[in-house]
Amino acid sequence: MGDAAMSLVLAADYQVPDFDHWWAGLTRDVRRLPGLGAHHIVVYRSLEDPSRVFVTIGFRDRGPVDALLRSPVMFSWFDGAGVEEFPPMFVGEVVEKLDLGSPDGSAVPAATAGTVMVAAIAPVGQLEEMRDRVHAAADRIAASGVRRFWIYRAVDDQAEVMILLQIATEQQAQEWIRHPDAAAAFMSEAGEGAYPPLFVGHLVQAIEVPED
């Protein structure tokens, strides 16, 4: 794994009352985020609920999580979105990026605006066993339309993961939501308690944050 694979990633699933207003605010906040050491922000928007977003923020360095979370910049981030109640925050690091390829054998193109994505945050039991199951089922998972399968492990719970799936079509994403592959059955735990429900959406934009 490279350095990027070991960097910290923060993710949250929440609703913004006015997406367009929030988007303008996000552009303003990006200029302040370098103070936190962020190197990218990726925004996804739900296909079913246009006010629901899934945001991941990647950080250059793995600093203290507590300091990151209680930063005034983090609070202003949610204030700018009109979010009164903070959503639970996933904080973790990527442990695997599986590129499952395209049916014709070609490499999967980079995600662009509109690319369909499914996200899940859930307890997974034994992470290594889950990874083994996913590897063993890679062909079957690819046949269901999954092009990339990214696994992140939470820093506060070694058995909690965030999964990001890049999927070929909306229809295949909806089908995955209804019937995830047996190798990813843990995704059915999403939505229990504090965990957000499964998210299916499309990429709005991946923003590179300039260094200070």
């Binding site: 999580v65 507590d66 979370l69 209680r70 983090m74 609070f75 949610f78 009164e84 109640e85 903070f86 959503p87 639970p88 925050m89 996933f90 904080v91 945050i121 859930a122 307890p123 997974v124 039991g125 034994q126 939470a154 506060d156 719970d157 058995a159 909690e160 229990e192 308690g193 504090a194 965990y195």
Partner: protein, 76 residues
């Protein structure tokens, strides 16, 4: 996941407080600090309390293991 940004309190810690008997956001705040500063994580804490009331910890540690990612003993 982290519930309380102010104090960096995780879902695991909040769930432990709930399972130990905290049934209001105030009680959770007293038990583990979550929600005791700005209070903007109250919705998440209430959601966790409601989920626990709907699915009480009758099986104690097994339920915790299931919820927080450790497979129960009776599962393969």
């Amino acid at each position: 996941m982290y519930v309380c940004l102010c104090l960096g309190v995780t879902t695991h810690t909040v769930q432990q407080s709930i399972d130990a008997g905290a049934r209001t956001t105030k009680k959770v705040a007293e038990a583990c600090g979550a929600g005791s500063v700005c209070g903007r994580c109250g919705h998440t804490i209430r959601t966790m309390i409601e989920a626990s009331v709907a699915d009480p910890p009758s099986r104690g540690p097994d339920r915790l293991r299931r919820r927080w990612g450790r497979p129960p003993r009776d599962r393969p």
